[in-house]
């Protein structure tokens, strides 16, 4: 079933009786070429690109809950490519280009909205960093503009320009950045993969990974054993536990990151805006809710909820940045489990076990990576060589110390990212 304006019109006139489920609900087969563990954004995108780009369709995506029920279903939906450090920079550039063509490619409305991201700066040091970052972004072929205080005021007059501690001096704008409808991204990839023959198997928790003579041969699941030539992890916050089933210990700590939505308001925030001093980021959803978040809670956690000190910090930052929202009511909050690496950057690589692949360590930035992650991971699984945009996302960088990607410059240490 393809979506089109004509189809919407026809269904509208015939009682919407022609719509069909977006994907099948197959029984797991006993054997696949590739089994992907994790039916979130990255796992589904990987399956889609395996089928589309590499013609590998004998693929199963195993999801312990429901498709898109993990972090892709609970994030702040921001899409951007304003990175600086080589390694991350070209990867996210690649990902943003895929975002731009994704809806046409998938024939699915993911409500991709290139409303622009504005990173505010508040002092000379941050301005210099913004200039340097902007130049790096332009050099990698993406867009960046340095805006003056007056230009920022014109775009976002509601910001607190007279904050004594953190006066707004200007901002770095990337107009191609924006937001996308997170659930629809998962659904679009699920549908696209299913249409190409991939089996999407829900309620199918992986309980063991079978390794014989250093080579992966399959997985044990809640719905029986499944043999596979290749097994690919895409389990986000649970990556450590899934890898442990194969006897691997990863350089990952799982932490919780909270996010918040206010009650629905009239349109006020037209862009994604980040406030450097408080590490706050906000956007406004199409329903009107202000979507915002700030730091991790900064300790290991598998609880899909956070603690109050970070709630308080986030609210303080938000009101400091946008005083007008201080009377808005908070609708809800949630926590996602983040697979944090010591340097804050992801891993897409072979594992030390033959045929077992790793896609983990997305820290708090997995959503914007979704198409890029799936695309380069599929390339790695299909060809056993890293994609050109992901040559530095290696597992052994922690052991060797070569090529650590410490974007924030805070140090390659677990508790700092």
């Amino acid at each position: 079933m393809r979506f089109s304006g004509w189809r919407v019109l026809k269904e509208g006139l015939t009682g919407n009786k022609g719509w069909t489920p977006h994907w099948r609900d197959p029984e797991p087969r006993t054997e696949y070429d590739v089994v992907i563990i994790g039916g979130g954004g990255h796992g589904l995108a990987t399956a889609y690109y395996l089928a589309k780009e590499h013609g590998i369709t004998n693929v199963a995506v195993l999801e312990k809950g429901y498709l898109g029920g993990g972090n892709v279903g609970r994030n702040t939906t921001i899409v951007r490519a304003n990175y600086y450090l080589p390694g991350n920079s070209e990867f996210y550039s690649h990902s943003l280009k895929l975002w731009e063509g994704m809806e046409q490619d998938l024939n699915y409305n993911a409500m991709m909205s290139q409303r622009g991201i504005l990173n505010l700066y508040h002092n000379d040091g941050q301005r210099d960093a913004a200039v340097r970052r902007g130049n790096a972004i332009i050099n990698q072929g993406d867009d960046a503009e340095l805006l003056s205080r007056d230009q920022v005021r014109e775009l976002a007059p509601f910001l607190n320009f007279d904050n004594n501690r953190f006066p707004i001096m200007g901002g770095l704008m990337q107009r191609r950045a924006g937001t996308a409808r997170h659930d629809a991204v998962a659904w679009g990839y699920a549908r696209g993969a299913d249409m190409r023959g991939v089996d999407l198997i829900q309620n199918c928790e992986v309980t063991g990974i079978d390794v014989e003579n250093g080579k992966v041969v399959g997985v044990q699941t809640a719905r029986g054993p499944i043999r596979a030539r290749k097994v690919a992890l895409a389990a986000a916050g649970r990556s450590g536990q899934v890898a442990a089933m194969a006897g691997l210990t990863l350089p990952i700590e799982s932490h919780v990151l909270q996010a918040f939505v206010s009650e629905g308001l009239k349109p006020i925030v037209d862009h994604v805006i980040t406030f450097a001093e408080g590490h706050l980021y906000i956007s406004q959803s199409d329903k009107g809710g202000l979507v915002f978040g700030s730091y991790l809670d900064f300790y290991s956690s598998y609880a899909a909820r956070g603690n109050l000190p970070m709630v308080e910090h986030t609210m303080e930052s938000f009101v400091a940045m946008v005083p007008a929202v201080s009377k808005a009511r908070l609708l809800r909050s949630w926590g996602g489990i983040m697979d944090m690496t010591p340097d804050g950057s992801p891993i897409i690589d072979h594992s030390p076990i033959d045929g077992l692949y790793l896609n983990c360590g997305w820290c708090y930035g997995g959503f914007k990576a979704t198409p890029g992650s799936g695309h380069v991971y599929a390339h790695l699984i299909a060809t056993d060589r890293p994609h050109g945009a992901a040559t530095k996302l290696k597992l052994d960088r922690f052991r060797s110390g070569h090529g650590l990607m410490d974007e924030e410059g805070t140090g390659a240490q677990h508790n700092l990212h």
Binding site: G240, Q241, A244, T249, L250, P251, I252, E253, S254, F298, Y299, S300, S301, Y302, A303, N307, P309, P342, F398, R399, Q413, H414, N415
Partner: protein
């Protein structure tokens, strides 16, 4: 979340700085693998975990805190100095 410092009593989480898993330090001459494991690799359990917390806004003690990462329940607190984490000199 509140942590019962053995010296100061039960205090708010905001008085503490989180360092991560409390692991026994390898000997100075231990090989690359041992140090890589100590610095980078983590068991990362969903359940009880031994962690290091620093009572930054209290008595400045380093604490070994056993905490359940799934429920945030604090199960035990001990002075790190008495926990034998220093390993071989």
């Amino acid at each position: 979340m509140r942590i019962a410092c053995p010296l100061c009593g039960e205090r708010d989480r905001r008085e503490f700085y989180y360092k991560g898993a409390a692991l026994v330090r390898p000997a100075a001459g231990a090989g690359l693998d041992a140090w890589h494991e100590y610095v980078n690799l983590r068991e990362n359990p969903a359940g009880p975990l031994d962690e290091l917390w620093y009572h930054e806004m209290g008595c400045n003690s380093w604490l070994k805190v056993t905490r359940d990462t799934a429920t945030h329940e604090i199960l035990a607190v001990q002075l790190a100095a008495e926990a034998g984490l220093g390993g071989e000199p």
